[in-house]
Symmetry: C2
Subunit: 170 residues, 2 copies
């Protein structure tokens, strides 16, 4: 893990539950369900397959032209959106059962990995508070990126954006 | 995961940060550091090696007589104890570098696994609110047990006990 990830996160003066969701090395959907005590819905905004360009190939450590599944979802609990998450997964690296569940929309990634008993670790990359560009109706969002590693390769690269506001006073 | 683990946890009327720490499928030490914004110390209360009796052998899916490392620690942040954790790890299953760090006291398990890039999943077993028997000076503690799975076998079985009181209003 990058040491500055944790130090940076600790320095943010934001609601505790937001800091926790943006910092966990476990499942975010699962934490959100525990925090809100409501079931979390995964609302799929977009799902499509691309062939990796040089930048994506470098990020995922795959070959240019390899197929990548791109999925964008919003995590919603009790009618309130809490997380906007984009994932990129090299098609060839996903175990068959994982691929099937990823293509069927609306299943959280943590649940997919758990259901199929996939062993992973999460390697943090970047975190920061950035311009929200209207997302969640917020001026600023907390953005973080990390890789889910399985069998020593990047199974998924994830970027999550969290609204920085009082909805996290849970 | 046992479905009733999550439902039971959601039903507990306890501080949100306690519910989150007792529910995460990621590192507890790490969440505690993010919540409290203080470094977390691991205070080793006890560490010894036992030969597995029938009950331990069955829990860890090893042979009777196999060596097991037993470690008991308290996690402390800003002078306040938050978690009392007991782990049992079959010696023969620990990668060499992990074993060395486990024997050197005072390194959190999540950090050991992260430092050595170990891929895992956490399988929850039991959760409940029980008599605190004076631990943390509390009448009741929240107790949970889970297994850390690596290469499809139990690498560690962990029981954590959390004080049920207002120290979690973070």
């Amino acid at each position: 893990m990058k040491t500055d990830f944790l130090e940076k996160l600790k320095s943010f003066d934001i609601p505790t539950c937001l800091r926790v969701c943006a910092g966990t090395d476990g499942s975010v959907t699962f934490l959100l369900e525990i925090m809100t005590r409501h079931e979390v819905s995964v609302v799929t905004e977009d799902q499509h397959i691309v062939k990796a360009d040089e930048q994506i190939a470098s990020l995922l450590d795959i070959d240019v032209g390899d197929e990548v599944n791109c999925r964008t979802v919003t995590l919603v609990a009790d009618g309130i959106p809490y997380v906007y998450a984009r994932s990129m997964s090299p098609i060839g690296r996903m175990p068959e059962a994982v691929r099937r569940d990823m293509m069927r929309a609306d299943i959280p990634i943590g649940k997919i990995l758990r259901d199929h008993g996939i062993e992973t670790r999460r390697d943090f990359d970047k975190i920061g508070i950035v311009n929200g560009k209207g997302l969640f109706g917020c001026d600023t969002v907390l953005s973080r990126s990390y890789n889910i590693i399985h069998k020593s390769t990047v199974l998924m690269r994830i970027n999550e954006q969290f609204p920085v506001d009082s909805r996290w006073n849970l």
